[in-house]
């Protein structure tokens, strides 16, 4: 399926895939797809940054290639690596049978011994892939600099093989939780979009799209309670993912109303910090009231 040409179409398609994108996000994605620029998504935890890429890939039948960043990630894990163990065995086998001619040696550095990692995969898949570079802020800045090079040309040079250039560019989505400041050069390569918490009405809609079985009445109450929680000055305010989890938990337990009792029992689905739990329990009556 081709990528769409208008914001409305893109929004509708994403909705089919269970993702409600607001106008800003849809515009940014559309521009990114037509200009072949990566998108950098920042925002609070649990507002669906990663989900965008997954849904985009699913809806348009692209392959999702995910590169999860972590401290110390290097080219071996992001680009490619030679399968050294196999190479070594092959060398032994060849030399025992006295077969080590030029051709055999060349084969040692062929596709058979090359372990592809996400970035190389994405370059080879071209526009048949959605490349998700998740939590780029967790990688160290050396990696960021390297990424910059790949993202600008979409070509990868392997000394033993040569340069592999993408025939067409994959859609690229980077996400960051802002645990550290990204370098300006990387930001400039990307389109930027900030995803904030959605308004209450919209959040209800999102939950109902993700959890079609949920009761609307209960969902409204839960969303209202979550919005109160976000106002509470918690260390880790709950995201949309937590709202969905909470509704799911309550649904599983067969609750039909968000009573202080029910909320108290299931609070662990939304709040994952002890101090925050205490604060929420103190204000439980207020959180669940006004339903």
């Amino acid at each position: 399926m081709e990528y769409p040409g208008t914001v409305t179409e893109l929004t509708d398609d994403l909705r089919q895939g269970g993702y409600l994108a607001d106008r800003g996000l849809a515009t940014t994605l559309l521009v990114s797809l037509s200009l072949h620029r990566p998108v950098l998504l920042e925002g609070e935890v649990g507002v669906g940054k990663t989900e965008v890429a997954k849904v985009l890939a699913a809806v348009y039948g692209r392959r999702l290639i995910r590169l999860q960043c972590y401290e110390g990630i290097d080219t071996n894990q992001a680009l490619y690596e030679w399968d050294y163990a196999r190479q070594m065995l092959q060398i032994r086998a060849l030399s025992e049978r006295q077969l080590a001619d030029d051709e055999a040696v060349d084969k040692l550095f062929g596709p058979k011994f090359l372990l592809q990692r996400p970035l190389l995969e994405a370059v080879q898949a071209g526009d048949q892939a959605v490349l998700l570079i998740d939590e780029i802020d967790r990688a160290d800045d050396e990696f960021e600099a390297f990424l910059l090079e790949v993202l600008s040309d979409f070509q990868i040079t392997i000394p033993e093989i040569g340069t592999i250039t993408a025939q067409s560019q994959p859609a690229v989505i980077l996400t960051s939780n802002r645990t550290r400041e990204l370098h300006d050069a990387l930001r400039r390569r990307c389109l930027y979009h900030w995803i904030g918490y959605p308004a209450a009405e919209r959040e209800v809609e999102i939950v109902l799209v993700r959890e079609p079985g949920a009761a609307e009445q209960l969902t409204r109450k839960v969303v209202r309670a979550v919005h109160r929680l976000r106002e509470l000055d918690l260390a880790k305010p709950p995201g949309v993912a937590e709202t969905i989890d909470w509704v799911r938990t309550l649904g599983f337990l067969g609750e039909t109303d968000l009573t202080p009792q029910a909320a108290g029992d299931t609070l662990g689905a939304v709040i994952k910090d002890r101090d925050d739990l205490d604060l929420a329990r103190e204000n439980m009556a207020e959180i669940t009231s006004g339903a």
Partner: protein, 378 residues
Amino acid sequence: MPDRAVAPFAGVLVGFARELRAAGLVVGTGDVLTYCSAMTPLDPSDLVDVYWAGRATLVSRHEDIAVYDQVFRRYFLDEGAPGAKQLLLPALASALSEAGLVMPEVSPEPPSDSEEKPVLGWMASDVDALKHRSFAACTPAELAALRRIMTRIRLTPPRRRTRRTRSAPSGRAPDMRRTIRESMRMHGEPAELFFRQRKTRLRPLILILDVSGSMADYSRHLLQFAYSARRAAARVEVFCFGTRLTRITRALEHRQPDLALAQAAQAVVDWDGGTRIGQSLDTFVRRWGRNGMCRGGVVIICSDGLDRGDPELLAGAMERLSRLCYRIVWLNPHKGDTVNFRPSTLGMMVAAPHIDLLLSGHDLASLEQLANMLPVLN
């Protein structure tokens, strides 16, 4: 490249970008080109598209969004706005509500007054005497001399091992790549085994400086260190507080350190309100600490510990901070040269259990001591 349909609007878009630049955003020519190209799949006469395309292409960090909104409003929406005349604005009101544009109130910038003039031409004749003179007792000329000496002190945070590895003759994991490469020379006979060892790197350094009243003088000297630490390729973050906390790391990149601090002081100090250490540290932990800024880092707090806020808040914030970061160093100028310093203020007493190293930082000698102890802070 922007196509013809966009061409009539290009002037307006470029003008808008210029306005943004004037407002302090970093907008390159390349960004403007992207902005114009972005209008091709969109509708340049639809203000909502103009807004979002600009936000995606011209803004690259969250802090800049507020400024962008302001300029956008001024350029496109205000009466007699330069952009408004040239664009067809269909159903402006509905467009605005759809996009959910929330325009922040513009608070007037506090006027900046120029801080102390640099005093030049004074040579440090007696460095030793100067070393032990409290900053508070120094004349401007002496301070300038001290500053020159301080630029030579290097502040190097302690190191930690990273997950990144490098090839080494010994280590835990074998370096297959190198071993194979070397064995090629020996006709595939793995003769020598190479290993990978984990690299080390400098821990991040976070300065949290009290800039209220008399503390400002002491804090200013620490800023000098922020520079030297950055030169050593460490990540350095600088915050200052009085009644509120502000992050001045980015401001320091562009401006004179003194000026940045003075401006920050104007923003955060409510002169009658006293110092709110607890509140400020709590803000730091919640907004930045929790996001991982100080994880594994060394936090240096410079304050006299005179807290007007709730001591429980300070205790809670310090406890959380100590769990988040690697070490906490507290500089209290009131400690002076006393060896067995007992904190007298409530704030210091509450914070004391979580402090790993308490120094004075009131004169050059004590700052040298800090510079010496920091690399070996374990």
